[in-house]
């Protein structure tokens, strides 16, 4: 059975860029969350989650987005979504309040720029958090 979604992760300096190609539903939302959480360093500014190639999302996926956003906020990190204008999932994100609750941009480049402009760290702040790649929740 073909997996519903492919998760691609890369680090762009101090930001984790994750892209989801395929569908997000109750069968894979928690797996995605675990994979992202395992890959986010404590000293990263946050996650840019690219949903440009996400063709389907349901309320379980929306729950995953809100949960991820809240957790990053508590850690003084940011979650930014990338959603194209004509994206099939845009209507669901609008109806469930994602698009007015979570930051979202039209491209990964814009997200990276805005995240670097908005997330400011006091000098040495990353050292206040526990080191390295320990679980972050």
């Amino acid at each position: 059975v073909k997996p519903l979604a492919q998760l691609e992760l890369r680090h762009d300096a101090d930001v984790l860029v994750a892209s989801v190609e395929g569908e997000i539903d109750i069968s894979n939302a928690s797996e995605l969350e675990a994979a992202l959480s395992a890959s986010l360093p404590n000293n990263a500014l946050g996650i840019v989650l690219d949903l440009t190639r996400t063709s389907y999302i349901d309320s379980a996926g929306v729950h995953f987005l809100f949960g991820l956003g809240a957790r990053l906020t508590r850690r003084r990190q940011q979650l930014r979504l990338v959603v194209g204008d004509g994206s099939p999932i845009a209507r669901v994100l609008k109806l469930t309040g994602v698009s007015w609750t979570l930051q979202h941009d039209a491209s990964v480049q814009v997200s990276l720029r805005l995240m670097r402009a908005e997330v400011r760290r006091a000098p040495g702040e990353e050292n206040w958090l526990s080191a390295g790649s320990e679980p972050w929740y």
Binding site: I26, S27, D58, S59
Partner: protein
């Protein structure tokens, strides 16, 4: 598991009540709606709404393991009706999956969404006017 409905007037699916059935349901429903000439944007929204109803069915499944849920659909005179039935007990939406949001989504995407819990299972009835390509309309 029936995957390829040939009758464009009716959809009839019976699937195991488990999370991975949802993507099978979506494929079958999309294929059926598309064969019936339903407009692409409508197909997407209907699929999301039906997915939410089926997620309820999967969560209500009792006993877990060998339970099934049933999805039937019909289109007549530009009106679509989908009925999702499970055979478990109604349980309030689980907090950790935020099901309240899914029910809201279902109601907003359809013209009418009616949830009827009963002693032997729950029935969700979804209705919506659909745009069909003229030659496909019943």
């Amino acid at each position: 598991v029936r995957l390829a409905p040939v009758d464009t007037q009716r959809l009839d699916l019976r699937l195991p009540a488990e999370a991975k059935s949802l993507s099978l349901m979506r494929q079958s429903l999309e294929r059926w709606l598309s064969a019936a000439g339903v407009h692409g944007d409508d197909i997407y929204e209907i699929t999301v709404a039906c997915g939410e109803a089926c997620m309820n069915a999967v969560e209500h499944a009792y006993p877990p393991g060998d339970a099934v849920f049933v999805v039937t659909g019909s289109i007549a005179g530009g009106e679509l009706e989908l009925v999702v039935r499970d055979f478990g007990f109604w349980r309030p939406p689980r907090r950790d999956t935020d099901r309240g949001r899914g029910i809201g989504l279902m109601k907003r995407l359809m013209d009418a969404a009616q949830i009827s819990p009963g002693p032997s299972g729950t029935t969700v009835r979804l209705r919506r006017a659909v745009r069909q390509r003229a030659e496909m309309a019943a």
